[in-house]
Structure formats: structure tokens, C-alpha cells
Symmetry: C2
Subunit: 245 residues, 2 copies
């Protein structure tokens, strides 16, 4: 070594050494969108964002393109970028794909999960049961997210994990939009979670996949019920589609 020893935490200088401003801006906007600080439909003004983050418009625009490709914002030429609004129909599509991925996750996780992983999952299920009994939705919701994300990690496939997280992010947008984050939020499925973990512990890949698939389908069913309900109240056409050529 030459002269100076590195400080303890990753210093701000060290961070700027490896990350570009574009990346930082993207991460910050992504965080705000997923946290609900910025709501679906909101307009993101280049100059305002740049001013608030103390950078010029260049990095902001680059971050916008990345977020667009990630499905978090939508761009209208000469009009600006808006936080994406996920319609009910789109959310339905996403749930459908999520069910397929979850089935795969179940199969793979059953083969690859270690006893320590199983123990961790059981612990999570325990916490969820507790939050469920207390009807504490604010505690239950993030636990549910963590549980399923952990499963996706255990599948041991980075591509699968990335695809899964992308879908979860988009579903997050749907919940933010409707304010009714009630789909996966309500603790109706504590026993299902326990069953899933036991299937993993028994190394039963087919069963674990089947259970996770059904679990996702059930969430989708709750969405459909919401769809029915909503179809009666407002003028029936608020759903707009984005076509992929």
C-alpha cells in the first residue's frame, strides 16, 4: 500500500468514483417512485429534478431513458415523462406472468434451498402470521414482499430474479395508482405460505411450484373481483392499452 488507508463506510467520494450521476439519479427516482413519493400519472420535469438533485439536465434525461425501459415511466415526445399508470388490464397481465414465474421459482427453490434458507423462511412466515392476527397491514405487506423476494433469490437464477422483480415493481405502481393496495396486502394467505415452505423443506419441486402458481392465481382472482366492482362505479372505459408491435 502507498499512504492512506480507506475509511470505514463507503465515502461519498468513493461512491462517485464508481457510479455516474446518471446512475445516482436513476436510483433516486426509482426509490421515490416505488416509495410512493411520486405517484403514477405525475409529471417529471427535467429542470426541476435537475435543480433539486443539483445536476444538469443531461444525466436526468439519461436516467429517464433507463427508467422508461424499466417500465417505471412513460415518455411523450415534446410533452415530458410521466410516472407510469398501470391499468387494471395491465395488472391482470402482470399477475398472469407472475404466476408462471412463481411456479418456476417454486420448482427451482425446492431443489436448491438449504436448511438455513428453510429456517429463515419459517421465521418470516411466523412474523407474517403474527402481523396477520393483529390485522396490521402495514407490517404484513412488506413481509409478504420480502418472503416472495427471498424465494425468488433461492431459485438461484439471476435472470429469473431480475424478471420477477421487474414485475413486482410494476405491480407496485398499480397499487399506488388505485390507492387500494389490497391485493396481496390482506393476510388471507398465511396458511398458504406455510404450505409452500413445507413443500420446499420436503424437496417436492412439483408441489412447491403448483402451490406458488395457485397462490399467484389467487391474488389475481382478488384482482378480478376488484375489476368487477370497479366496472360498475365509474364510466366503464378508463383502461388504456399500450400495444407492442
Amino acid at each position: 500500500m502507498t499512504k492512506t488507508a480507506p475509511k470505514g463506510p463507503p465515502s461519498a467520494l468513493e461512491l462517485l468514483r464508481s457510479q455516474s450521476l446518471t446512475t445516482l439519479v436513476k436510483q433516486e427516482l426509482e426509490r421515490r417512485i416505488l416509495a410512493g413519493d411520486i405517484l403514477p400519472g405525475d409529471k417529471l420535469n427535467e429542470a426541476d429534478v435537475a435543480a433539486e438533485l443539483r445536476v444538469s439536465r443531461g444525466p436526468v434525461r439519461e436516467a429517464f431513458r433507463a427508467l422508461e425501459q424499466a417500465g417505471l415511466v412513460r415518455t411523450e415526445k415534446n410533452r415530458g415523462v410521466f410516472v407510469r399508470q398501470v391499468s387494471l388490464a395491465e395488472a391482470d397481465e402482470i399477475y398472469e406472468v407472475r404466476a408462471g414465474l412463481d411456479e418456476l421459482i417454486g420448482r427451482l427453490a425446492a431443489e436448491r434451498a438449504t436448511p438455513a434458507d428453510i429456517a429463515e423462511l419459517r421465521e418470516l412466515v411466523g412474523q407474517m402470521r403474527q402481523a396477520g392476527q393483529a390485522q396490521d397491514v402495514d407490517a404484513y405487506y412488506p413481509l409478504n414482499i420480502r418472503f416472495h423476494d427471498r424465494l425468488a433469490q433461492l431459485a438461484g437464477n439471476g435472470t429469473l430474479l431480475a424478471a420477477y422483480r421487474r414485475l413486482i415493481n410494476e405491480l407496485h405502481l398499480y397499487r399506488r395508482r388505485t390507492l387500494a393496495r389490497g391485493q396481496d396486502a390482506f393476510p388471507t394467505s398465511t396458511s398458504q405460505h406455510a404450505e409452500i415452505v413445507e413443500a420446499l423443506a420436503a424437496r417436492d419441486a412439483t408441489l412447491a411450484g403448483e402451490l406458488l402458481y395457485q397462490h399467484a392465481v389467487k391474488s389475481r382472482s382478488r384482482l378480478h373481483e376488484a375489476l368487477e366492482r370497479e366496472d360498475n362505479l365509474p364510466p366503464p372505459a378508463l383502461v388504456r392499452e399500450v400495444s407492442i408491435p
Copy 2:
């Protein structure tokens, strides 16, 4: 209407009216990468690309960020962007996910395909059989791509279609890299394709899903054979992983 009638084809002016330069640059680069004009590992120089496409570096950089998020290029800070190299291990991951998506595609397509769709698929299978008998790989390969993409469209789920196409693009990068585009290329599976179409025609969702899953798994097996072969020739560790936090 006010004064002028629109011309026949979409004029260049009309095109620039709706598309930004960033979008055009992105599409052009995507085309070149997938067509093999630019190979995995190649460096993309901002100034060169900008000069060749007659734009400034701004739109080029924005296009780079979009392509990065799309998984087609990789960026190293202060060093530039490179066409992504998909390793064998990554290709293996992608095949695994693709199998899961294909299973879902089969289930959904079986429910939603019209008789006209079935006829179109039968026509495609016929052409593939023909190219297969003639051992014409250059004709067979794009037909195979078209067949599976058509299936993905028939599933009637835009989210699923987008996810599927992204994986196919990444697999394309793997094939470009190894020059051995032999995985799905060789016409070993003409009969499988016919079976799939018949399952769709019979509206047997479970069977169609199962057949497509097995079809993808078989492609993956051929990849594993290639993996075994390659493991013996070069020093055993050329595979690098990208970790997702």
C-alpha cells in the same frame, strides 16, 4: 381538415414528428446488434456512432442507457459501453426462464388461438419441415424464431410477450458470441412443433404447456452438452457472473 392531405408512406418528416433521435438511434443500434453487424464484446464509441448517424453525442448516450437496461450492452464507467457478452452460465439461466414462460405461453395460447391462427402455425411448421429436410439451417433458424414469437403473440398478454422477446434477444447475443448458433438452429424438432400445434388445435392447455416446456428444456439440454464440451478445451474458468444485489 385544413389544407394538405397526407402522403402515402410515412414521410421522413412525419417520422421525426413522433420519434425522437434517441429512439431512432436506439432502434438502429438494436437492429445492428441483433443482426450481428456489431458483435458481443465490441466497444461502442460515442463519437463514432454519433458521427456515423449524423447526430450529436446526447441522443447516443440516451440510447445507450436504454440499451443497457434492455440487456443488450454493458457500461463501464469512464471506459465506455460494450455489446454484452452472454456467458454459457447466463445462457443456461435464460433457457431456464424461457422454459417457464413457454409453458405459460402454451397454456394461454391453447385457450386463445383462433382457427386462423392454427392454420398459420401449421403453415409455418410445414415450411420448417421443408427447410429441415433440405438441411437448410439459414432458412430454418428464422422460421423457428417466427414460430415461437407467433405463439408468444397468441398468448394475448403484452407483458408476457415483452418478457419473452427480451430473453430471446439475450439468447441471440449468446449465439452471436459463440458463433455456434447451433442450439435451436438444427432442425431436430420438427415433429415437436407439429405436436404443439395439434395440442393448441385440441384446446388442451395443459398438454400444450407441457410440450412447450419440454421443448425448451430440450434446447437447454443441447446447451449443456455444449457446456460439457467447452469445459474441456479452454482453462475451465472463463465464465463471469453479474450479481444482482
